[in-house]
Symmetry: C2
Subunit: 209 residues, 2 copies
Amino acid sequence: MKRTRLSPEQRRAQLIDLGAKMLAQRPLEQISVEDIADQAGVSRGLLFHYFASKHDFHLEIVRHTSSEMLARTAPDPYVEEARDPMQILRSVLASYVDYVTENRGTYVSLLRGTASGDPDMRAVFEQTRAVMSERTLEQLPAIGIEPTRAVDLAVRGWIAYVEEVTITWLRDPHLTREELIELNVQALPALAIAAAPEIAAALVSATTT
Amino acid sequence: MKRTRLSPEQRRAQLIDLGAKMLAQRPLEQISVEDIADQAGVSRGLLFHYFASKHDFHLEIVRHTSSEMLARTAPDPYVEEARDPMQILRSVLASYVDYVTENRGTYVSLLRGTASGDPDMRAVFEQTRAVMSERTLEQLPAIGIEPTRAVDLAVRGWIAYVEEVTITWLRDPHLTREELIELNVQALPALAIAAAPEIAAALVSATTT
C-alpha cells in the first residue's frame, strides 16, 4: 500500500479504524500490530508512537467500537417527538439489534470473549452500559415511571437481559428479528412493573393507550 | 502443617477445597500452586500429580464453587410440596442471594473478573446458568406458562438480569435483602408475560390467588 501523508490525528484515527474493521473478522487478541501497520503502510515503530502498547491500541479499538454502537442506537430527537415512548424504545432496540447483527463477530467476541475479562476493557463496557441505562431512565417518566433505586437496578438488569437474549439469538436465531425486538422492548415495562408495583396501574394505562 | 495420610481422592478434594476457600480472599489468578501446596503440607510436584497445570487446578476450583452454588440453590423437594410456585421461586432466590452475599469475593471475581474471559471458565459458568435455566423452566407450567422459544430466551435473559442486579447490589446495597429478593422474584413472571403476552391473563390470575 502506498504511504499517504496524513496528519497525526488522521493517522491515529486511521489505525484505530483499521483495527475496528479487523475486529469483525477475528477476536481482539488475534489483532497484531504488524498486520495493522502493514495495512496502513506504516512501520510497527510508528504505530507505537501513537499507542503506548498493544493493549493500549486494543483498548482504543474497543472504545471506538463502543462509541459507534452508542451513536447508532441513540434515540433520534427529530423523529421522536412525533412518536409515543414505546415507539422510541422500539426504534432504539431495532437499531441495536441491527447493529449487533451487522457486527456480530465484534459484538460476541468483545462481550463474551477474552476481552470481557480485562479490567480496562470491562471499564469501557461498563461505561457503555451506563450510557444505555441513563438514556433508558430518561424515557421512563414519559410512560409513568419515576426512577427509584429499585427501578435504577431494574434498568441495569434490563441492559444485561437485552445483551444475553440478543447474543443467544445471534448464535441460534429461532425468533425473527421483529420477535426479538419485541421481546427486548416488552421486557422494559415488565421489569419496571416488577420493580415498582405501586405504579403498575399507571404504566398499564400508559402502554395500552 | 503436619503431612497427613489421605487417599488420592481425599487429597485431590482437599486441594480443591483449599483453593475454593482461598478464592473468597483473592481473585483466581492470584491463587498460586505454592501457597496451596504449603497449606496442604504437600510438595508442589504432588499437586501437579493431581492437576495437569495451574489452569487445570483453577478450573477445578471454579467447578467446585459452581457445584456448591447449585447445591445451595436447589429447590427443596420436601418443603416445596406445601408451597405455591411463587414461594418456591422466592425460596430459591433467597438461597441464591444469601449464598452470593456470604461468598461475594468469589462470586464477583469469577463473574466479573479475569476468569470471565477464559473460555474454559466461561464454559463452566454457561453450564451453571443452563442448569439454573432448566430448573426455572420446570417450574413455569405450575404458574400457567408453557415453554416456547421466546419463553426459553426470556428465562436465559432473566438469569443474566438476576446476576447483574445482584452484583450491582453487592457493590452498592441500597435495597434491603428482602427488597432485592423480591425484585429478582417478580422479574420472572414479568418477563414471562413480556415473552408470551397471550398467556398474561392466565399468569396474572395464577400469581394473584
